[in-house]
């Protein structure tokens, strides 16, 4: 059984005197940060606040070693073949844009996305297709919002790229990524996975999955904001066109020409958020020490309780499959005729329960389903059954006024 009380001690926000009035259920948007991460960032600014990869003095060297060590940690965490396959970005959005802008998409290409993609994995492709004449196809989900693999198998032929979220932030549904990759590769298509919502809840093995590209953010996996990663197979990354260019992306420059550095530096233009990257490294250290199978079971127990209790409420409507095992740590719902923001605000005002409300950057899905938004509970391993019970108690009370 997962020891929640022990891990909660690692998070400053959960050990404050008023922590009982702070129930954080918005982990799909932003995870909390353990002291380890905060300390790592502070350490950079305090002990070696130097440029990385540029300055030869001892502080510069120390900072460079530390950041390079983070790259190695990330590579190990997702089981990449080498550190060169890890590109540091600002977030998942930038990682996806990097691929979109560098892939060399042509008018004859087809790109497939699911119907539940975050705007970050939809808008870049929409824009790219508008500019190049390529075709963007949206894969419809099944009635219960799960991935329709049969339909996918029928339409994959001839596609250039499948850009898909591993776990949807809308409803927590995880797609059958192994099957998708297998079918895509069989059809000659590459696969880019938006792993932002997955990294806090499960380990992704890019080699075992044979993933082409994986994009994820630090802030959703205990790390700081402004940190992200793009994993790509070395052979693929080397074939990509440069994205952002400038300082630290070039080996040499004349007044008329330039020679780019190899990957990953080619894609890391300008001075980066080194403190953030060191925080990301600390977050990966922390996550690496956790038992993810225990985490999954813990989050399931919480989500099972929440799901079974909220379904007793009148007007309650669930988004996604009823089985909480299929929804990671997410419970996305709405009440007929009730503004989701009002539910979220009242939960916060009454019991300090923080959830997300609105369209969760998946406007396309809500527009298609003619819904104004939903209230979304997203759990993490540090959430407790007591917090879940308080949520149900408060929501039941709120439900009385509708």
């Amino acid at each position: 059984m997962f020891n929640t009380s022990q891990v909660r001690q690692d998070f400053p926000l959960l050990t404050r005197p008023d922590s009982a009035r702070q129930i954080y259920f918005d982990n799909a948007c932003m995870s909390l940060k353990p002291s380890l991460v905060i300390d790592a960032m502070t350490e950079y600014y305090r002990d070696y606040p130097a440029c990385v990869g540029r300055s030869s003095h001892h502080l510069g060297q120390l900072a460079s070693q530390k950041v390079q060590a983070v790259r190695a940690k990330v590579a190990k965490f997702i089981n990449a073949s080498s550190e060169e396959e890890i590109i540091f970005t600002r977030n998942t959005t930038e990682s996806i844009n990097l691929v979109a802008r560098s892939l060399g998409i042509k008018a004859t290409d087809r790109i497939l996305v699911s119907d539940k993609e975050h705007n970050s994995n939809l808008v870049p492709w929409q824009l790219l297709c508008q500019q190049t004449g390529a075709t963007l196809e949206v894969l419809p989900s099944r009635a219960d919002n799960t991935f329709d693999l049969d339909h996918f198998a029928q339409v994959i032929t001839g596609a250039r790229l499948v850009a898909i979220g591993h776990t949807a932030n809308l409803d927590g549904v995880t797609v059958p990524i192994s099957e998708i990759i297998r079918l895509a590769h069989s059809a000659g298509a590459q696969v880019l996975v938006d792993g932002a919502q997955a990294m806090l809840h499960q380990r992704l093995d890019v080699r075992a999955l044979d993933l082409d590209y994986l994009a994820f953010s630090g802030h959703k996996m205990l790390g700081p904001t402004g940190t992200g990663v793009l994993y790509g197979k070395a052979s693929l990354l080397n074939s990509l066109e440069p994205f952002l260019v400038g300082g630290d992306t070039v080996e040499s420059v004349t007044y008329t020409d330039h020679k780019f550095l190899p990957v990953p530096e080619r894609f890391e233009a300008g001075l980066q958020d080194y403190a953030g990257l060191l925080g990301l490294g600390a977050a990966i250290d922390y996550l690496s020490a956790l038992d993810f199978s225990a985490i999954r079971e813990h989050e399931y127990q919480l989500n099972h309780y929440l799901t079974s209790e909220v379904q007793k409420l009148a007007k309650f409507r669930l988004i996604g499959p009823e089985d909480p095992r299929q929804r990671s740590g997410v419970l996305s719902f709405y009440f007929d005729g009730v503004d989701a923001h009002q539910i979220a605000l009242m939960l916060d005002n009454m019991s300090g329960i923080m959830i997300r409300s609105g369209q969760h950057c998946v406007h396309s899905w809500f527009h298609a389903h003619k819904l104004t938004g939903s209230a979304r509970v997203s759990l993490a391993f540090y959430n407790t059954m007591e917090e879940a019970e308080q949520f149900i108690k408060t929501l039941t009370k709120i439900n009385q006024i509708f």
């Binding site: 923001h341 009002q342 605000l345 005002n349 009370k397 709120i398 006024i401 509708f402």
Partner: protein, 314 residues
């Protein structure tokens, strides 16, 4: 609608609280968006609504349910009530400035700016026969038929006329007399002074009689003596010698005036004056008529000035 009402409420509360200042700022942003024909998508309304609902829900589910259901209706009611109360408050301020009372001239209803009602207090007159308070009201007050020639009077040819009914020993009369003297001097008013002792005591009657004698002796010096009577200590006014000394100090024959005050003819004149004064139906002192309009109680100077200048509109 909610944003407009919230802007006003939070702006007022913001004077005392930084938290409410932030709310006021957000409400202003919301209102500004609305007047520039943009959607108010700041979530401000929802946030305040939820805070109120959360508190209500802790006390009464029914109340919270009703509030939630009729939120817009409540917002409109609140807005209308606020506009009405703003107009009412502005009218109250205007009236207080001009009349000394939020509710109009001589109104004794509660006024926040004069909570003790000082501007309308009078030394009440008693009916000497029944010992009860005189049963008349402001609307009964009139100068019609009053023979002003019976009383001390100055500057009779002036256009604006002021008649003051007061008594030397009454606190409110004493409080207002300096302002009246100042007003008369500044605007050169036709001023008639009626001394009426509301308690009808012997010493007060004496003072009326003595005043008549002073006026008969020297109309010019009467006004100086009169002013000194209001300025003197109340305890001294009971002493005929003191009253006579005040007259002597003005160059009058104090002893002769004392004799005059005790003369039966003078006392008859006093009774005649009292009887004539009662025709005004006044019920306390000071009562001051300016161009026929009565002001009961010691008003601020600006009120009398406005009455002379005819600044009173409603």
């Amino acid at each position: 609608m909610f944003c407009v009402a919230a802007l006003v409420v939070f702006s007022i509360l913001g004077i005392f609280s930084a938290t409410h200042r932030e709310y006021a700022r957000r409400a202003l942003d919301c209102v500004f968006r609305r007047v520039t024909l943009r959607p108010c998508n700041t979530g401000f309304s929802e946030q305040v609504r939820s805070q109120i609902l959360a508190r209500l829900l802790g006390r009464s589910v029914w109340a919270a349910k009703m509030f939630n259901k009729y939120f817009e209706v409540f917002a409109w009611i609140f807005m209308i009530a606020m506009v009405a109360s703003t107009i009412w408050t502005a009218q109250g301020i205007y009236r207080y400035y001009l009349y000394g009372s939020c509710n109009g001239l001589n109104s004794t209803s509660f006024c926040a700016f004069d909570p003790s009602g000082t501007n309308n207090k009078v030394s009440s007159m008693q009916d000497s026969e029944t010992c009860s308070l005189v049963n008349s009201t402001e609307s009964d007050l009139t100068l019609a038929g009053l023979d002003l020639s019976l009383f001390p009077r100055q500057n009779e040819s002036a256009k604006d006329k002021l008649v003051m009914i007061a008594c030397y020993e009454c606190d409110y009369s004493r409080a207002v007399y300096p302002d009246i003297a100042k007003l008369v001097a500044k605007y050169n008013l036709d001023f008639t002074f009626i001394h009426f002792p509301v308690k009808a005591g012997e010493s007060e009657t004496f003072m009326s009689a003595f005043g008549n004698c002073v006026y008969k002796s020297s109309p010019e010096k009467f006004w100086a003596w009169n002013e000194q009577m209001f300025a003197a200590s109340k305890s001294d006014l009971d002493k005929p010698e003191f009253v006579a000394t005040l007259a002597s100090n003005l160059g009058l024959d104090g002893q002769a005036l004392l004799s005059c005050a005790l003369d039966q003819a003078t006392l008859d004149q006093v009774r005649s004056q009292y009887s004539e004064a009662k025709t005004t139906k006044f019920y306390g002192t000071p009562t001051i008529f300016i161009n026929g309009q009565a002001a009961v109680g010691p008003k601020p100077y600006r009120v009398y000035r406005a009455m002379v200048n005819k600044y009173l509109f409603f």
